[in-house]
């Protein structure tokens, strides 16, 4: 594989973040990475994003937590995780940190807890960046609330940024808002180095015969190819509104999806629900991407990024 063609250099205030390819895995769909090491070479990926971590372990929501939907799924896991110390002790040391950018996704109920988490992780060697989840629809406190209010989004971003030292901070945005650019701008102002979008869309499924909700939490987050058009729109809007780099998430399933996100301005993508199609899915995407680039005569991804051309026709009459 010609590394340079696939390489993405993400410009950050603290120095460039270089990815060997734009294929990252999305939080919550790739465990802590180690679960997948049996199915492929982790170091072949551009990077991974770990399951959301909180300060203390969290048990998550009651069952059922997931349900399959057309071209996607709903989840209300409720952020079950081993807590930051459990992760640092049992999982991080098992990852090939020198050859693989590991982005740690964090979640907290308050700006103060976000700050403590960031501080704890700031001096751990080997972490490439933090991803701040202000967009989880599945927890009672905080979560989505932070991502729906520009003031809160600003505050959480600032708190994390102040506590995280040199670690780059990426804030993960929710599509469940009236204006995603308003929140994006608030995070940029709060000091975010990057933004990632999108988290899941709030949705619902019911069991018609049983007359019950399909999830114990009643509502959950929709993910998978079903949400890709929404995600593309969000990435395009956000990339045009802010100066900091944007990572695209939502329904990435094949090489063309990756190229589409790059075309509208993303520097990389995260592969989420597609990991459930089969556990080697993400590992195959870099090679598939290279083949598609050849076919489409895309010489390198860096210069291809953000080259969407919008025809300059403003109205029906101009046609």
């Amino acid at each position: 594989m010609d590394d340079n063609k696939m390489q993405m250099t993400i410009p950050l205030k603290s120095g460039d973040l270089v990815l060997k390819n734009p294929v990252l895995t999305a939080s919550g769909t790739f465990g802590y990475g180690v679960e997948f090491s049996r199915y492929g070479d982790l170091t072949g990926l551009g990077g991974i994003v770990t399951k959301g971590l909180s300060l203390k372990p969290m048990k998550g929501n009651p069952q059922p937590r997931i349900v399959e939907t057309a071209a996607g799924m709903l989840n209300a896991i409720g952020l079950q995780n081993w807590g930051v110390e459990g992760f640092l002790e049992n999982y991080l040391p098992k990852l090939p940190l020198e050859q693989l950018p590991v982005i740690v996704n964090i979640y907290a109920h308050s700006p103060e807890d976000f700050s403590s988490l960031a501080a704890r992780l700031s001096n751990v060697p080997g972490i490439a960046a933090l991803e701040v989840n202000i967009s989880c629809p599945n927890v009672a406190c905080g979560g989505l609330l932070f991502g729906q209010d520009p003031k809160m989004a600003f505050e959480v971003t600032r708190a994390v940024k102040q506590a995280s030292g040199n670690l780059p901070v990426m804030v993960k945005l929710s599509p469940n808002v009236t204006s995603i650019t308003e929140i994006a701008l608030a995070c940029e102002e709060g000091g975010a180095d990057m933004l990632s979008c999108i988290n899941t869309l709030t949705g619902m499924a019911v069991d018609l015969k049983g007359r019950r909700p399909a999830l114990a939490n009643v509502v959950g987050g929709l993910s998978g190819p079903a949400i890709k058009p929404v995600a593309l729109r969000c990435v395009w809007q956000v990339a045009n509104a802010v100066k900091i780099p944007v990572i695209g998430i939502g329904g990435v399933y094949c090489a063309d999806d990756i190229l589409e996100f790059l075309l509208v301005g993303a520097y990389a993508v995260q592969v989420g629900t597609a990991n459930f199609h089969r556990p080697n899915k993400a590992f195959e995407l870099p090679a598939e991407l290279e083949a598609r680039m050849k076919k489409l005569k895309i010489e390198n991804l860096q210069s291809f990024r953000g080259t969407l051309q919008i025809p300059d026709i403003k109205s029906w009459d101009e046609m």
Binding site: G40, K59, G224, F276, R278
Partner: protein
């Protein structure tokens, strides 16, 4: 390529049907996977290679039997995915992730009662084939539809009619009485009960075996997305002892069953000791 992902050709898709029940029960045979390390109770995630992004999850199906003629599954059409699964034809490619999960215990010298409800018969086909002392095996099969819909005739033929008993589950009360009676009979002979089937059936197996002090395992079903312990969608509640903080069961447990955290059925199970978890 990982040792746990295989692309196997479909050899056969045989419907099990009667004059009135059609397109619901299928025996699927794939080329032999060359596994040396599978045990009955384990499952695989199946995904026809032709499926695209429109179908999200692979389908968890119990491994029925594995031999040099092929890898066999038995499944029921219960929704969108299994309906599409039934459409694959000989020569099609199937992506198989497996063998996954835990196994049914084998104690050759103890009388062992296999309790199967409907589709729950599948793992016991392989269990009967692999057991070193089949003379110690008995089967109680509960069903709602005619026997031809299931693998029962093949099973009964292999095990011998005398050790197999089938009961119609439609008369719930009388079936549960038979179930309890059979489980209770294991207590004085230090027997082992193994169960696979619908949730309400497994709950009863748990209740009766705890009541009569019989060692028992059940194979739990849960909605599964990843099948490999990564999404935490399929979890079950471990039963911990307040004093020791460890799992209440005296049987060996995976590490996650000793922690006060939901444990993934796909990775810690699907086979669990009945005293180790709460429904």
């Amino acid at each position: 390529m990982s040792d746990r992902i295989h692309t196997l050709k479909v050899l056969d898709m045989v419907p099990h049907e009667t004059a009135t029940i059609k397109n619901r029960f299928y025996e699927l045979r794939l080329e032999p996977p060359g596994w040396s390390n599978w045990s009955p109770g384990q499952f695989a995630m199946l995904r026809p290679a032709a499926w695209g992004g429109e179908q999200t999850w692979s389908k968890p199906i119990s491994i029925c039997s594995v031999n040099d003629k092929g890898l066999v599954f038995f499944f029921q059409v219960s929704g969108h995915g299994t309906r599409r699964l039934a459409q694959v034809r000989p020569g099609d490619d199937m992506i198989v992730v497996g063998p996954l999960g835990s196994k049914f215990a084998v104690y050759p010298d103890r009388p062992t009662l296999m309790l199967a409800g409907g589709m729950g018969l599948a793992p016991f086909v392989g269990y009967s084939e692999a057991h070193p002392n089949p003379g110690n095996l008995k089967l109680l099969f509960g069903h709602r539809l005619p026997l031809e819909c299931y693998l029962y005739p093949a099973c009964a033929c292999k095990l011998g009619e005398r050790t197999c008993r089938h009961e119609n589950m439609n008369d719930e009360e009388s079936f549960m009485a038979v179930l309890e009676e059979n489980i209770a009979a294991l207590a004085p002979v230090n027997g082992l009960a193994l169960a696979c089937g619908p949730g309400h059936f497994l709950r009863k197996v748990q209740e009766f075996s705890l009541k009569h002090g019989v060692d028992a395992q059940v194979s739990l079903e849960s909605r599964m997305a990843c099948g490999i312990g990564a999404c935490l969608g399929c979890v079950v509640k471990p039963l911990l002892d307040e004093a020791t903080g460890k799992n209440r069961s005296s049987k060996p447990q995976p590490k996650s069953m000793h922690q006060d955290m939901p444990a993934p059925v796909c990775a810690c199970g699907p086979v669990f000791w009945v005293d180790s978890f709460k429904f």
